[in-house]
Amino acid sequence: MTEPVLEVRELHIAFGALKATDGVSLTLRAGEIHALIGPNGAGKSTLIGLIAGSLSPDAGQVRMNGQDVTGQDVAARARAGLARSFQVSAVAPDLTVLQNVVLAVQGARGGSYRFLRRALSDRSLTETATAQIDRVGLAPCRAIPAGDLAHGQRRRLELAMALAQRPRAFVLDEPMAGMGPDGAREMTVLLDDLRHEAPILLVEHDMDAVFRLADRISVLVAGRIIASGTVDQIRADDQVQTAYLGEERLP
């Protein structure tokens, strides 16, 4: 088996007495979608923060492509190939869709410290950005300020920005949150296609989508992974059923 793209080893972090992440280990391999599920307050957002670099662990390691990146900050991990989306949309509301995605291309390629040339006159930037916008189906909205987009469109914009980074791994935090059934279906198709570009660590509450997309599922409860396996294994796991699915399954 090949080296995992993303690997987490024995991560610990505590806020006061609360052990938010308590010895978590998991891997993300090329070509797969690895779903991370768990009830509210299980520590999913904390774990994503640790992986992305906005939190530093008390103990443990985060490795990307075999390199230890635990000491690196968010920007450094992003440049090493980690793309993330946020649970609550974080796009620049006053910038247009195109400008937001150009920004993402800039981030991946460098060159943000050019002061006098018009960013939108740089065709190598805009062409890449436009391609990603078209891919997520936002072509008609290119010139609209991101703040004016509908909720579902903003989730797609997030995805376009992640794509424009040309990442080696995606970490997506509830990409379907707040989307209608149609939107969720389209997003599922899009994500299914994405896994060939780079593997995805997917945090999602929409169980239908998770069961359709995931190659593997890990279940996080109270800062610990209580089960990890294929869709069928997880479905059959009693502990998961009682701890989580029984009460949390949503229509």
């Binding site: 900050d73 920007a75 006053d94 910038l95 800039q106 981030g107 018009r118």
Partner: protein, 327 residues
């Protein structure tokens, strides 16, 4: 939005027409006032890079304004006194040449902004406001109490510094110089806003976590913008010192910071020509109200209050409508 370029054009042409008319009518003082407007507008353009583009509410920009002013005096005073600027480690003479002084002011302003910004940007929001204010105040007290460079008396330069090919003592020619520098700064600020850097900075202002997740450090972006901002404001300070042929710690006081900020907001934050409109309005108000009452600052305060509460977006915002990028 359509209307804004037209308004900008009118403002910048008015700023040119007023002193020309005044010169023709033999009212040189109005030329001097217009020069003051141009220079304060330049300081505002500098602050606007931090405030409008970067979202950094700096209440300490008097520090850079004053650093620029002092750079003028420190470089020019030795020439006046026929003494070298320094003899160790290398012997350096001072200079009375504006371009060299400007270069010195820009470098000193940038270094000052680098030091203050590097510390202040460790925080954000209201901390940032208070800390920039406090650092500005620290420089103010330093300038007053340090034995060299005149203390509170400041340094007077008896003859305005020179610019190749111009008689800078002639009010209109000095105005032309300040006006040209202002136009250049406006052009640069415009290009900066649309550049890759400007885009990243706008992102860092509106969604810092996202920009970091894209691989660009918001801290470095903001610090760079703060340094650029400080450098432009320092250039304005050098020109202002040359306008008065004098520099003193009052350039560094927090009231100066407040005034630069007030004129940016009067004109419209984040609007390219906001500082120009704001500086013109501010000077106009100061002179109109000052002629009416000894207590003109009372009325100035009421007018400012009215503008913040009821005319958001400043003068240009009110004339052109529709808020543009600023949060």
């Amino acid at each position: 939005m359509r209307r804004e370029p037209l308004i900008n054009l009118v403002i910048i042409l008015l700023l040119l027409a007023v002193p020309l008319t005044a010169q023709a009518m033999d009212e040189p003082f109005i030329v001097t006032l217009a020069t003051k407007v141009a220079i304060l507008a330049l300081a505002g353009v500098g602050l606007n890079i931090a405030l409008g583009l970067g979202g950094m509410v700096s209440l300490g920009h008097a520090a850079f304004f004053g650093i620029g002013g002092y750079m003028m005096a420190v470089l020019a005073a030795p020439v006046q006194a026929y003494e070298p600027l320094m003899t160790w480690p290398i012997e350096l003479a001072g200079t009375k040449s504006m371009p060299l002084i400007w270069l010195g002011a820009v470098i000193a302003g940038a270094l000052g902004a680098l030091a203050i910004g590097a510390l202040s940007l460790r925080t954000s929001g209201v901390y940032f406001i208070m800390i920039t204010l406090a650092f500005g105040q620290m420089l103010y007290y330093f300038a007053i109490s340090w034995p060299a460079y005149g203390g509170e008396d400041g340094i007077a330069i008896y003859v305005r510094n020179g610019f190749p090919g111009l008689n800078t003592l002639d009010p209109l020619q000095f105005f032309a110089l300040a006006y040209a520098v202002l136009l250049l700064a406006l052009l640069l600020a415009h290009r900066l806003g649309a550049s890759p850097f400007g885009l990243a900075l706008a992102g860092a202002r509106q969604a810092p976590a996202r920009v970091a997740a894209l691989g660009i450090r918001p801290y470095s972006l903001k610090l760079t913008a703060f340094v650029l901002s400080g450098a432009v404001t320092a250039l304005a300070g050098a020109l202002y010192a040359d306008l008065n042929r004098f520099v003193s710690p009052s350039m560094l006081s927090w009231h100066t910071s407040g005034e630069i900020m007030v004129l940016v907001i009067l004109g419209g934050v984040g609007r390219l020509f906001g500082p120009v409109a704001g500086a013109a309005l501010y000077i106009l108000l100061e002179h109109l109200l000052g002629g009416i009452s000894e207590h003109w600052q009372f009325f100035l305060g009421l007018i400012l209050l009215g503008i913040v509460l009821f005319a958001r977006g400043g003068l240009i915002g009110t004339l052109a409508g529709r808020e543009v990028a600023h949060d």
